[in-house]
Amino acid sequence: MSKSVRIKTAWTKMNSLLQCTKWQAGQLHQGCLIAPHFFLSSFLLQWPYCLRRCSYCNFNKYIPRSDNNHIMTECLQQETETLLQLSQVSCITSVFFGGGTPSLAHPSTIAAVLETVSRRAHLSDKAEVTLEVNPTPAGMSKLEDYCRAGVNRFSIGVQSLQDEDLKILERDHNTQNALQTVVEARRQCPGRVSVDVMFGRPKQSVESWERELSELLKVCDDHVSLYQLTLERGTQLFKQVQRGELSVPADDVTAAMYQSARRILHEHGFLQYEVSNFARHNAVSHHNMSYWKGRQYIGVGPGAHGRFVPRGEGGVMREARTQTLEPDVWIHEVQQRGHGTRRRIQLGPLELLEEVLLMGMRMTEGITHQHWQLFSSQMGLDEVFGTSMEVQELLKSGHLILDDRGLRCSWDGLALLDSILPALLLELGNRIPENPQSHRVANAQKEKTSTLV
């Protein structure tokens, strides 16, 4: 390595470490010497296994056939190294162990992956490290060990506080398990426990939902995620509803459930910061925030998605990357080729902005002018959206707000975001020229010939 390169590398590293510190201190601003998003990334590890299939879930997940924990761990470490090197990311701002059921992974696996991350990039001990937990007795018993392995935040899939409903959803826990797990998690990571609950479940009424939520609020910590049960094609639940064996609440009922949950949570001091996420005492999920802010993320594990610039191979454009879905195949690929990336698509300027828009508008703070400028230095929010007739109508009707802070949904608008986004996407497409080269085609060829690393 020449001297100048060495100096440059050292400087870059220092610069990025500085960004890292600033980021952790929550004072990352514009005007950095080098665009910060090149060096920063969050990190997602996807654990593909579940013990059973929930009746509503169509996620990429597999029932493990044999104990391959050891091989899986090695491969996750290998892929972590591969992608960190490829991305040249020097600072990992948060880690999320999702799934599948990551609480099926042995705590040593979690420790090993975190150790690999720290070896390749800076991972502050203050960085948020979240693990999704199925509130089963087995999951609960490992919480302490997970903490020791480096996890400092738990996201617990409570889903429901009705045993009967948990059976319908074919969850492998009951209400009592869930409540105990929450208590234990709070003991391990006070102030850093999130609970997931689901509404719009079969037979649920607005009143029963409100009661349930009140119950939950008695035990929960400072973070709540709520999801509407969506009927996905191909799931057991979908078939049951199709056959008329079960019925789910009508649209107007689920809308009422959503609105009453927003109100109740607000009354309990929870601020909504995203469509489905609520926090008090500032306990927002930094990891998820970085998705919504359009930052880079590295996804490792079968079926994991990532968005980053592969600077390690001289890339300058962000890529949308997907890892091979099937765990066995993924393991095989990592072992044989050293990586498990199945698909890479370069994101042109328009596509990147589309993602920034789609994700950013989910936050209650929306997209600030500064946030937008990180991705669109040429055209501000006002220029892109301000002149559109339809946007004007949305502003007038109070669904949308465009002011000196930026572009965001109003309280009412947020619940209708999917009706607003098509109009915004159209307007964006009108303003930003499509990438002239078909990067998908160009990339498809590249995909065949290149080996990563």
Binding site: L44, Q46, L226, Y227, Q228, T230, D251, D252, T254, A255, A256, Y258, Q259, V275, S276, N288, Y291, Y297, G299, G303, A304, H305, G306, R307, A320, T322, E354, E355, L358, M359, R362, E393, S397, H399, L414, A415, L416, L417, D418, S419, I420, L421, P422, A423, L425, L426, G429
Partner: protein, 626 residues
């Protein structure tokens, strides 16, 4: 269309000497019948027996038939054939002049019939008299032709010729002894039909000494020769090279080709009074040889045959390509089809919702159906056909408007042209007389259907113990959309229906607007009878409600007359439309979904703040699927 043609000995000679046939040995006749009563089969038998086509070949006139033609048993393009028949040692020239088989074409039928002196009225021995039998009978009766009733299909197991003869006697006042019982399929008794044609039908009362005068009773278009006109000579003679004139347009032509139809073209040098044949005279457009027109020699002008009327469209429908990129293809398909059918009127039209297209005028519903099916066959892409409308009229009271239009009475095809009530003394709507024949078990149901359609019963007779014939005066508008289908389904297919035009009548017409959140949707404005406004408005609002997707705002779908709202449906606003979960892995899928919606949005028409998909317009405007 026929492969095996055996020529009659003297037809072999290039120039048939038709002067051999004095008028006394010529008979001109048509076959008229209700759907599927066996008209084409009998024609085939007659052609075989006179040697015009080979007997060996199974002659089934099903070639190229459209579904609608098969379903409703009509032949739109008439086939004409000259038959040579020996009877009691004499050679006769029998001209079988085929007619389009439906009263939509009643004008054509009446023109074809006017070239004849007699008709064979075929009635199915099982089904008996049907609506079209009645309509066709009256056309022939009014033309004072000899009517020979032929009871066909006597070979059928359920044949009841006695009952049918009784019906004929009762309804048509023809003695039952005059009926000929045949089976065209098996050839039973068909020879007798030919004998009776010679015996009962009089020869044409024409003379070769008169100046040349011919009736155009059909025409087709040939890409090489131009228009081929089928003509019947009412006087004199015509030869190749003669200069002739069309009475309607006053244009002169030179006769290039003449001949007989056997049914294939057999060129001859001359045609004489009383004969029937084809002529090619350099006409470039079927509109130059309109059915009913008279031809004469340029040197010897004659008075035109009475009753010529240019075809008048009675049913209109919009046609639009599904996608505007298909416009040119659809245009040439429509052009090709109208080349052979001068009765279709074509007007360019454009709709904000459906884009550029055409408004086509047809003689009637069936005519429209036939055209549509031809178009589908000819042109494989999907075509949006709007629900049919009828031409209304307004009698203007405003002197200014009268001056503007150049007449007191105007025809309104497009609702946009509907003049305000204050400017007219009355509105008129086209009427028809409908004939319905049905087993009497369905009488009650049919009567209430007719009442609902503003029908006024004119009479009702039992044509036998179980079958009833009803006549109703209907506004045409009431039967153009789904009347026929409803009638068929409520009578398990046993009722038959036919109608003829019955002029115009004053009607309380109003313009109905459709509003979306208070904004009028131009392309949905319709003219309706005041009595029907509420039900029509309600139906349209309901259809729109079902086809406009929920939006962020509540949408009021209203039907209005002037400022008065007569019907309303509400499309409730979305209260929530946001995907619950969206994290790193979900973006791609979600983006795809939203971009698809954004693309769809581009294609929608925005009325006020409401996005209306093209499908919604199509659902409301299009003809109901059969």
């Amino acid at each position: 269309t026929r492969l095996f043609v055996i020529l009659f000995p003297f037809a072999l000679k290039d120039a048939v000497d038709l002067s051999k046939f004095p008028v006394e040995r010529i008979r001109n006749f048509s076959i008229i019948a209700h759907i599927d009563h066996g008209k084409s089969t009998l024609a085939d038998r007659l052609l075989e027996m006179t040697g015009a086509i080979a007997k060996t070949e199974k002659n089934k006139q099903v070639l190229d038939k459209l579904q609608v033609e098969r379903e409703r048993g009509i032949t739109v393009k008439a086939q004409t054939a000259s038959l040579f028949y020996s009877h009691q040692g004499q050679q006769y020239l029998l001209n079988l002049i085929d007619t389009p088989g439906h009263v939509d074409f009643s004008y054509e039928v009446s023109r074809s019939i006017s070239a004849c002196q007699g008709v064979l009225l075929i009635v199915d021995a099982n089904q008996g008299i049907q609506a079209q039998t009645v309509a066709n009978f009256y056309l022939a009766f009014e033309a004072q032709l000899t009517i020979i009733p032929v009871i066909n299909k006597i070979d059928l197991k359920n044949a009841d010729p006695d009952r049918v003869e009784a019906q004929i006697e009762k309804v048509f006042d023809i003695p039952r002894e005059e009926c000929i019982r045949i089976s065209a399929k098996l050839g039973t008794n068909v020879e007798r039909v030919l004998q009776e044609v010679v015996n009962r039908i009089p020869p044409p009362e024409v003379s070769t000494d008169d100046p040349f005068k011919a009736l155009v009773f059909d025409s087709t278009f040939d890409h090489y020769r131009g228009v081929v006109a089928n003509i019947a000579l009412f006087g004199g003679q015509v030869k190749k090279g003669d200069r002739i004139v069309s009475a309607h347009l006053g244009k002169a032509y030179e006769v290039n080709e003449l001949g007989l139809l056997r049914p294939d073209e057999r060129p001859t040098d001359r045609l004489y009074a009383g004969q029937v044949g084809y002529m090619v005279a350099g006409m470039k457009d079927v509109k130059e040889a309109q059915i009913g027109d008279t031809l004469y020699l340029q040197q010897q002008p004659v008075e035109a045959l009475p009753g010529f009327k240019p075809a008048k469209p009675m049913v209109f429908a919009g046609m639009y390509p599904m996608d505007q990129s298909e416009y040119t293809g659809l245009r040439s398909a429509i052009e090709r089809l109208t080349l052979n059918d001068s009765s279709v009127t074509v007007q360019r039209d454009s709709s904000l919702a459906l884009g550029a297209g055409w408004r086509l005028g047809f003689l009637g519903l069936l005519h429209m159906e036939v055209f549509n099916q031809r178009l589908e066959q000819e042109y494989n892409a999907s075509v949006i056909v709007t629900a049919p409308t009828v031409p209304y009229k307004a009698v203007l009271s405003s002197a200014k408007l009268i001056k503007e239009h150049g007449s007191e009475e105007i025809t309104i095809v497009n609702p946009a042209q509907f003049p305000d009530r204050s400017l007219v003394s009355e509105y008129l709507e086209p009427m028809v007389v409908g004939t319905i024949l049905s087993p009497d078990t369905y009488t009650g149901k049919i009567m209430s259907l007719c009442m609902n359609r503003r029908g006024v019963q004119k009479n009702m007779v039992y044509i036998d113990d179980h079958r009833v014939m009803m006549k109703y005066l209907f506004p045409l508008n009431e039967i153009v959309v789904d009347f026929y289908d409803l009638l068929k389904s409520m009578s398990s297919g046993y009722a038959s229906f036919d109608y003829e035009n019955a002029g115009y009548q004053a009607a309380d017409l109003i313009k109905m607007d459709i509003l979306l959140n208070g904004r009028s949707v131009e392309e949905l404005t319709t003219i309706v009878h005041r009595e029907r406004a509420y039900s029509a408005g309600k139906a349209m609002c309901e259809k729109l409600k079902d086809s406009i997707p929920r939006q962020m705002f509540e949408i009021a779908v209203q039907a209005a007359i002037g400022s008065k709202i007569i019907a309303r449906e509400t499309i409730k606003a979305y209260r929530k439309n946001v995907l619950a979960k969206c994290y790193g892995g979900d973006i791609t899928r979600k983006m795809k979904l939203l971009k698809k919606q954004a693309e769809g949005k581009k294609k929608m028409r925005r009325i006020g703040n409401v996005d209306v998909p093209k499908d919604a317009f199509i659902n409301v405007l299009k003809r109901k699927d059969k």
